[in-house]
Amino acid sequence: MAHYDLIVIGAGMIGASCADAASAEGMRVALIEPGPIGGGATAAAMGHLVAMDDDPAELALARYSLHHWEAFADLKEAEFSRCGTLWVARSDADRNAAAARAARLGAAGVEAHLIDAATLYELEPALTPGLSGGMLVPREAVVYPPRMARYLVQRAQSRGARLYAGRRAQALLSSGVQLDDRTRLSGPVLVATGCAIPELLPMLPMRARKGHLIITERYPNLLRHQLLELGYADSAHGDADSSVAFNVQPRPTGQILIGSSREFSAIDASVSPAMVQRMLERSFAFVPALRRLQALRIWTGFRPTTPDGRPYLGAVPGATNQWVAAGHEGLGITTALGSARLLMDLIHGRTPAIDPAPYAPSRMAA
């Protein structure tokens, strides 16, 4: 039976980051992935590197992770584009809220500026008239997640990690894992299977939260920043069964990527014309010129969502040598690198750079 220092299950952005970090520490790593690398939520993701400030724990993880993303700012495979994030205020109330948020981000070490309406239109002339300003977070960026995940897997492989491609982890053993071809691997296990977590770890509840995305043909310079409405967090962190929020991103190719929708009860991956319509109506309200753009493709994806919205990062409750990193909802790309480092510190018994308590999976065992 092959023995490894760490067996990572799932080669999405989270599993790829963990395999990369573990191999960098000299661990003998196995990585198990039944489908394409980054073929789940990673492939469907917008790839926005963004700090959300409404939960201090989430902000700490994002801040820590964003710092590590800087190492990839010039990496071809990351397609890192520092477009910044522009949060758009529709009303004075929005703008007041933005002031509080800019202060929270600033206190956490994330550069953020409150901007008035005139500056807003200077930055983004295509925005609809009558907006009251917003908040600019200039250092944030967008990346191309599936290519990045593949890069991290290949880097781990170059350090000796073994990829079990096309293999599915069928069951966790007391120390190791059994694959669908009856192969058994021994060693500590790290489960990073996103929405599929309950298949291997039924004690950790996870819901799949469906999202739609639309990408257009190329319209260079129509938009320059990742644009979000200030009410975005109400959709992202609210518990409504379905919601939409204005979230539009200029890709480095000149294409425009349009989000975002959230649905709990929709379980099939088909595109819902009604949801697409709601998303587009929302985006037209902020950027009317979008109406004339040509859409190339629409797809859906599922965000792995825990009951409290925070990821599971740490030891599996009641088990030894089993770890979990999953449940990042819509922030998995942003927080993958920090999550991987946090896990490495926990596995090696070191004190992590940020407090791990808010993410401890044991919170569900209570």
Partner: protein, 425 residues
Amino acid sequence: MTERYDILVVGAGPAGLTAARTAAAHGARVGLIDAQAQPGGQVWRHDVRHHAPREARAAISGLGQVELLSQHTVVAVEPSALRVEMPRGASELRYDALVLATGARELLLPFPGWTLPGVTGAGGLQALAKQGWPVAGKRVVIAGSGPLLLAAAATLRAHGAHVLGIYEQAAAASVHAFARQLVHWPAKAMQALGLRTRLAGVPYHFGSFIRGASGDDTLSRVDIEGPRGSQSIECDMLGVGYGLVPNVELAQLLGCALVHQGAHPRVQVDALLRTSVSGIYAAGEAGGIGGLAVARIEGEIAGHMAAGQTQAATALLPMRGKERRFGALLSHHFALDPRLLSLANAQTLICRCEDVTLGELDGFSDARSAKLVTRCGMGACQGRICGTALAELGRFPRNGARPPVFPTRLATLAGLTTFPSSDDY
């Protein structure tokens, strides 16, 4: 805005025209949807300078009560409805029964130089000439495979092009064996004879294919591999197509099962042209390449079926069988030379929308991984060209279609029925 029809027919080529007319004759309210300004499809595409063939004119003028919805592009599907886009607006068309007559597109195979300006598909060049693209006096080479090369060459010649030659990849013995079989289909024999007459003086070479095309900014020379070795020809335009591939994207989005046999899928239908989805029928090339006569007889069968006239449809089955056998004969005698699949090298562009070379696809075993990393097939053609070529090359099959069916205005997807004028932005 929603409009209701008893029967909608998608595609106004020979199959769709026949299906629409047949269904309407039973008293149904029929809408015939087509993206082009003029009906006719690819084979009867409107020619700005020349009359359509008599049978095409008859099919178009015989539409009677059918509502012809020209310049309507089907972009998305909804339960028992299609979302269509027009030049100045969009609407939703509801149906009780649907006939898919979405036809076929050309198979383009990559070779060094195939993306140079001046190089197009053979059918593509024929369509350009019919639409008025200037070809008079141009030196044109037609290459690829199948009887459509003759039709393309004849159109080019009629528009004043100087057709230097037709280069058919199938061997002479195979094409001649095919020609001998035509006695069983006298109409086709006459058609072939007519084309040969119109192409008098144009050399028709067998066992020959284009190995490469070159030129500084635009095409100036093609390299041809023939039974007696290689040669180069100076020319201004090259039309090269390797036969046809069914258009199945709309059927796929509607949930219709496909037959995956050979490199390219086709819509699965039973003898009465029912797809796997109740109330949806497929006629003509979408259900497998069969040619004009298959398209017309299947259009008639599907038109009867969509109108609930199973008996009338059943009566036509023997005719359909005979014409389908002709389609099988075509694919047998014009089977592709395996050398055609290794013309492209690592530097040859495969996906021209996203600038992906064949070499960049090395090391990927499935289309989805390759697409995720290289964006091959993610451009404006939605993988119709590169995905089809890669499937033929044996790299990987094209994977599932995503909406929209064709690139579409966001306004259409948002359900807006009229588009704002440009002053509104």
